[in-house]
């Protein structure tokens, strides 16, 4: 069984972004980029399934500018087998990404697609569910445990009230939550090896997908900031202040 893992190149999770002065968007020039953290978890899970003999090949896919190839290389250095870069400039929305992934699924016929639950830039939390809908596949989102057994995958999901487990017939779509695993670091020899792994390029046109954004971004603004308040000297003073403020 092949596994496809879509990975997005995003601003590093440790960076506090700035909104451009003209409200046209977020400043991305000279900002440190990285693989979306949930996608690292997805790559790790695919690697573990392969190491357990449940998968034969791991294909990473990224939709984005030429620089997204670096993110694919990172996944290859972790141990994925080959990459596909869908070259697209500018904003590509989850719906378009889902359509592009559907076209790649049609070519590769994987048994599983494992995505992140959420890209930490647009915070959409949509792509995996949309892909599952377009393919008419079952979905196991926000996974904290994935067990593949024959033609089924059992997915334990992080939900509002706790945990929920579903059983899905393969092929299926899974999206990762934080507690699924702890992603490995790529070793130096593996980083060298990754440079020789195959990385194909394609385009939305070649895949027959119109990736034009549907939503218009009218403006982007900074949230109104919060002022730091005061420091209190003791727990007793804290309780006093909270009582005076009427919150307790």
């Amino acid at each position: 069984m092949k596994i496809i893992v879509p990975v997005k190149r995003v601003v590093d999770a440790n960076i506090k972004i700035r909104v451009k002065a003209d409200a046209s968007g977020v400043e991305l020039a000279n900002v440190k980029m990285a693989m979306n953290p949930f996608d690292e978890i997805a790559v790790e899970e695919a690697l573990r399934l392969k190491e357990a003999g449940k998968a034969s090949e791991i294909i990473v896919v990224s939709v984005g500018a030429a620089s997204a190839a670096e993110t694919i290389r990172t996944a290859l250095a972790m141990g994925a087998d080959r990459g596909i870069l869908v070259k697209a400039e500018g904003r590509v929305e989850p719906l378009a990404v889902a359509k592009l992934l559907k076209a790649i699924v049609a070519r590769e016929e994987p048994g599983l697609v494992i995505l992140g639950k959420q890209a930490i830039d647009d915070d959409s939390n949509q792509t995996g569910q949309m892909l599952a809908a377009l393919l008419d596949w079952p979905q196991g989102t926000f996974a904290s445990k994935v067990a593949v057994d024959g033609g089924q995958v059992e997915v334990t999901r992080e939900v509002d009230g706790g945990l929920q487990t579903v059983s899905l017939a393969l092929p299926a779509v899974v999206t990762t939550d934080l507690r699924l695993n702890e992603p490995r670091y790529a070793s130096l020899p593996n980083i060298m090896k990754a440079k020789k792994k195959p990385l194909d390029e394609t385009t939305p046109e070649a895949l027959g997908v119109d990736a034009t954004p549907r939503l218009e971004i009218v403006s982007t603004r900074e949230p109104s900031g919060r002022q730091a308040g005061i420091k209190v000297a003791s727990a007793a003073e804290l309780v006093q202040k909270l009582k005076t403020a009427g919150v307790i």
């Binding site: 506090k16 909104v19 977020v26 989850p94 719906l95 889902a98 639950k117 930490i120 830039d121 915070d123 959409s124 949509q126 792509t127 569910q129 949309m130 892909l131 809908a133 079952p138 979905q139 989102t141 926000f142 059992e154 999901r157 992080e158 939900v159 509002d160 009230g161 706790g162 945990l163 929920q164 487990t165 579903v166 059983s167 899905l168 017939a169 299926a172 939550d177 934080l178 507690r179 549907r214 939503l215 971004i217 009218v218 403006s219 982007t220 603004r221 900074e222 949230p223 919060r226 730091a228 308040g229 420091k231 209190v232 727990a235 007793a236 804290l238 309780v239 909270l242 919150v247 307790i248």
Partner: protein, 311 residues
């Protein structure tokens, strides 16, 4: 044209998140129908019908809908979307799971986590963990929205009850099956609707100490308990208590952060709280930059002292 709001519930009660999302749905300006799907949900439908501003309640009942799995729920919604220009739901885990399936089937780009309704076609939503707010406009034939409940007040009960109509349940999915659930049972208020939240971080050090320190203070204040990702990852608190960018988004009257550093991902989930208290022994902890009241002290001495002061 009308708006369809999909209700979330726990099988017993209509969630507070739905009453809040209803406020956003009403701001769009069209009549709002509420869809209640589940198994044995007549009482929940009645609760929805009592809320102000609901035009009609549609109820679909059946074992297939019992756990609000995405596949049957999306199937159900797709059948009735012809009558609606807006399909909305609170951004709860069940709805975040199902709604993009509806959007993709309609070939519409979903707008996730709406925090403001600016016009019937224009909405504000946070990106980058709330460090930027985007105004987006959609000129698609239909709009599919998830609503960030914490950004809206709950709609109250109205003067009259809306009519309730039954819908047939969809067929069960042949490829997806509910196996089981391990849900928290707590007598404390729910994170999403609590007036006060006491949250613990990595500094608590163990599940035992988390229970011994955070729980009594929460109980004394009648508060819900929250946690940082580090506390959840370390097993001090269950996953459903995680507050943050990728956990629960809350905005209580009072948020007390105990031994939480204040990473942007955590702030994303609580910085709209009315009053924020931080107890941390590191004077440079970023949480102090947004706290209304900061106490620089070891939490293991500060919390017992707070309990004394409250006694």
């Amino acid at each position: 044209m009308a708006t369809l709001l999909i209700a979330d519930h726990d099988g017993v009660r209509l969630g507070d998140a739905t009453a809040k999302a209803l406020t956003a749905a009403r701001q769009i300006g069209a009549p709002v129908d509420v869809l209640v799907a589940g198994d044995g949900v007549a009482a929940i439908a009645a609760q929805a019908a009592s809320l102000a501003g609901v035009a009609r309640v549609l109820v679909a009942e059946g074992a297939v809908l019992a756990n609000l799995l995405a596949e049957p729920l999306a199937e159900l919604v797709i059948r009735i979307t012809d009558a609606y220009t807006v399909i909305a739901a609170p951004a709860t885990s069940a709805m975040k799971n199902a709604l993009p399936r509806v959007a993709a089937r309609l070939d519409v780009m979903q707008i996730s986590d709406v925090t403001k309704v600016l016009a019937a076609d224009t909405f504000e939503r946070p990106i980058y963990a709330g460090n930027a707010l985007e105004t987006v406009r959609s000129d698609e034939a239909k709009r599919v929205l998830t609503i960030r409940a914490a950004a809206f007040p709950a709609s109250e009960a109205g003067d009259a009850n809306a009519p309730i109509e039954a819908l047939p349940a969809p067929a069960a999915s042949s490829t997806s099956r509910f196996v089981g659930a391990d849900l928290s049972t707590s007598t404390r208020p729910e994170l999403g609707s609590a007036r006060i939240i006491v949250s613990g971080g990595r500094a608590l050090g163990s599940a035992e100490k988390f229970d011994a320190v955070v729980a009594p203070l929460a109980d004394r204040l009648g508060a819900a308990i929250g946690a940082s990702r580090a506390a959840v990852d370390s097993g001090y608190a269950p996953n459903d208590l995680q507050v943050g960018q990728t956990g629960k988004i809350v905005a209580p009257e009072l948020y007390v952060a105990l031994g939480i550093s204040g990473a942007i991902q955590h702030l994303a989930g609580m910085k709209d709280s009315k009053v924020i208290v931080a107890i941390n022994k590191d004077p440079d902890a970023p949480i102090f930059q947004i706290a209304d009241y900061g106490l620089e002290e070891d939490l293991f001495t500060a919390v017992p002292a707070m309990m004394d002061a409250l006694a």
